[in-house]
Structures are given as C-alpha cells and as structure tokens.
Amino acid sequence: MTKFADQYAIVGLGSVIGPHPEVSGRAMQAEAARLAIEDAGLVPSDIDGALDLKRQGGGGDRPGYTDSFARMLGLPVNFYYSIGRGGSIAGLGIATALGFLQAGLAKYVVCSNFVEDWSNSRKTRAEGKIGMAHTPRRGHYGTPFGDLRAVSHHSFFASRHMHEYGTTSEQLGAIAVAQRQWACMNPDARMYGRPITIEDHQASEMVVDPYHLLDLCQVSDGAVSFVLTTADRAEDTRSPVYLKGIGFGEAMASLWWEKRNYTELAVKPAKEAAFAHAGIELADIGHAQLYDCFTGEVLFQLEDYGWAEKGAGGEFVASGATAPGGSIPVNTSGGLLSAYHFGDLTGTLEAVTQLRKEAGDRQVDANYSLVSGHGGEILSPGMCSIHSTLIFGTKE
C-alpha cells in the first residue's frame, strides 16, 4: 500500500484580504483563484475541477444561484459545486478533491471561498442588529430564547469548562493576547499594530458572559484559494506543500449523546486518522492553526490533541506556550481572533505560507503544521459539530 503522506500537495495559494466594495464577493473569489493558479505556475486551462468552499449550515450562507467564480474565471472544468459545513470548509474541500484526484477525474482542483461578513454586518447594523445578522438560521430551536449569534451558544463551551475544571476568564484572555502578539507580526491581520494585554481583555465589554469582546473572532471580508494536485504533478512547481494527513470526527457520534460536547471537541478520531496518515507524533507538529471562532475552542483543542492535560489548558495558555517563543506556536497569523475569519482557510493559508517560509517577521520554521476546522448544527441543547484535522508538511 502506498503511504498516504506526500501523495497530494497544495501547489498554489491566492488570497484577497479585506473589503473590495468595487466588486462582488464572487469576483473576489475568482480573483483569489486566479492568483492561486498563477502562483502554481499554471494557466486557467490546466484546471479541470473547481470547488466552492462555503459555510452551508451552522450559521452559514445559503447556496447561490446566480453565478459561480469558476464560470466567471473561464475555467474549463469537468465539475464545480459547493461544499462545507460551518467553518470546516478547507478540510471537507480537500477530502472531496482527493476523491477526484484519486479516481483520475481531475489533475488540478482549485478550491476557493469568499466571505463578505464585515460588509454585510455593516448593513444590518443600521437596522439595530449587531454582528452576523445576515446569515439565516432557519429551524434553529434556540432563537426564541435569545440565541441570536454564534457567541450565544459558543459561550456554553466556556461556561461548562469553567465549571468542570475551574478555568478562568483571565486564562482565556491569555489565548487572545498570544494571538494578538502573532497578529502584530502579520501586516495583513485586521488587528496588526494593536497589541493587547490581559487587562485589556478583562476590561473589554462583556458581550455574553463569560465571553468578553476580546474572546470573539473577527468578522471579515475576503477570499482564499488553493490548487490541489497529485505529487507527480507537484514536483515541478515552485513550492509545493504536501498533505501529510487528513481526518474527521463528529460530535454526534458519541459526545453529543453523552453531554460531553461542551467540554470536548470531536478531535479524537480526526487526530488518529490524520496522524496515522502522516506517520508522525504530536511533538513533530511545529505550529498549529487551530479553529478559533472563540478563545474556548483553542483551549479545548490544546487539551483534546494532547498538548495539555484535559482540564489543564488554562494553565498551559497562561504560561505563554502558544505565544511567540512558546513551545507550540498557535495561530501564527493571528487567527480568526485577531487576523481574519475565512473558516479553516485562515489556518490553511497560514500553514502553507509558513511551510513555504514566506511568513516574514512571524516565520516559525517547522516540518509540519496542523490545521483544524469546526462547524455544525446548533440544536440549542448543544452544538453538533464536525472536527477536521489537516496535517501539512514539506517533503521528507
């Protein structure tokens, strides 16, 4: 059996960060794809598959009917469709693309997303609504009880972890502070040049107790795209980054039923599958790009992957372990908390940039980077989320 690691690679990367009011989101998505194709040293006519990475469900956008980035860009593809679940879009997109590449149905698959959450939230603010009011939540049981935004139910994660393990708001604040330190080395980050302290975190407005404003992620505009291909085709490209492992887990398998989904994410099966592919240990991961819609999720993952003991994540982050100079640099772009929210494409963009040694002041040399994704249904008696693990690396 051929080893999974090193069979597939990201060979091109493109991004458009920040509002571009002169064009549509679709055009931003097409532009990111154009940049990714160019970065791969390819031309549009090389691309034979396209995937629209979209946050369907889990507070996400609904599919569009009007037009696609792939048509707009004139890609001669054999397939195009949308895939994604909440913030898990790169992981699911790559799993999907692998199927086409493996079956010989595609040579180069371009994956691209776009979000205009910042622009859209500016519009609904005029109607007295704060934040992500533009993403419909049909069928959501929590709405009548005032569960109106992601923080309404994500703060249960912190509430429950604090209850079971004595985690404090200051410890969660250490995650926000560490990621802001990283963001201050990333000129593209929304919060570049705006360092914060634990005191700032504690003094920031209480939004949904126990979450302060600085426990919440960014709301962003932008687009990220990458080109995935097979190893034989990747060899000739300027800077391929190899997919070493991939795995998935679902809270609905057991955590949700056991009421453990508010102290643990479905990391276990995702981690096991991805590390088995890669043939490495956790200690081999040089930096982790962990899905960080809120500070609590970062804490959970540090424990669930095993960087910290279960329940000891608070002390771990308070020690500075995830900050620049720490034992496991986490979200080195600033992440969703301090840079930009493109789902797990934020982490994918950073992992590839880092492994290509193109991360500038924030460069952390490593052979392997881990990227995680998260998203799912909000049942009101608890979120039912997917967890995705991607391990990227340079060739052995």
Partner: protein, 155 residues
Amino acid sequence: MNETKPNTLLRRSAPNTDRDIQPFWDNVANRQLSVMRCKTCGAYYWPASYCRNHDNEPFLGNMEWVPASGKGTVFAFNVHHWAFDAALKEQVPYVYALIELEEGPLIGSNVIDCDPSEVRVGLAVEVTFREFAAADGDVFTLHQFVPAGTQSTAS
C-alpha cells in the same frame, strides 16, 4: 393571560418549527413541557430521535411525546449583555441556559425571575410558561425556568 395585549409582552422570535418538533410546541402552547420517550425501552430524548438502544419501527413509530416533570438543573448557562437585535434591548441582561431535565435530555431555555448573578451550573430549576410577542404581533408561549421552589402559584 389570553387577553394580554401583545404590546405589553416582551418581543422574541416565534419558535422555528418543523414537522418533527411541532407536537412539542403544541404542548408548550398548552403550558406543558414534553420529551420524547421510547415505548419499547422507556429511554427519553429531546429533540426528536430514533431510539439508540435497539431497532426502531418505521418513522419513529416506537417514539412518543410524553409530559416531562418540568424539573431539572442548569447544565451550562450564559448571560447576554449585548442585545444583538434592538427588539431585545429592554431584556438584557438575560440568562440563556441548557437545562438538564430530570428525564435526562438537555433543552435550551431562559432562567428568569432571579438575578443573573444567582445562576450557577447545577442550580435546581423548574419549568414555567410565559407569553411573548413576535414582531408581527403574534402571541406565543415559551417554556422558561425559574429557581426551584420560588414559583408563585399565580404564575
């Protein structure tokens, strides 16, 4: 209660419903909290689920909505200080919580009639019902929870 004018009621969004959960909301409208029970083994669920313990009859045929005791404890909670919609401006701070029902399942609701600072994980609560008004003026009932033993008979 039925003659209460909508404009004196707190504004909320009416429940999002579908055919699986509709019997639950019909029961709430009649001021009764219900959970789904398996006729075969007695296991309780919320929301609608096939029984995980054994084979099921087609289309949840072995499952039925039955009255819940209305007693439970706070499993997780938060206090909303921001009104994400202007309609809730007069209602903050409010407590949104997951209640662990005596029968086992968790259910989302609010903890009311107490200071938010008194709410703790593990707090014993019991169900009550309140009427709310939707933006279109429709009046609807929601299940709410209060600390156990504090409910006046008038509620």
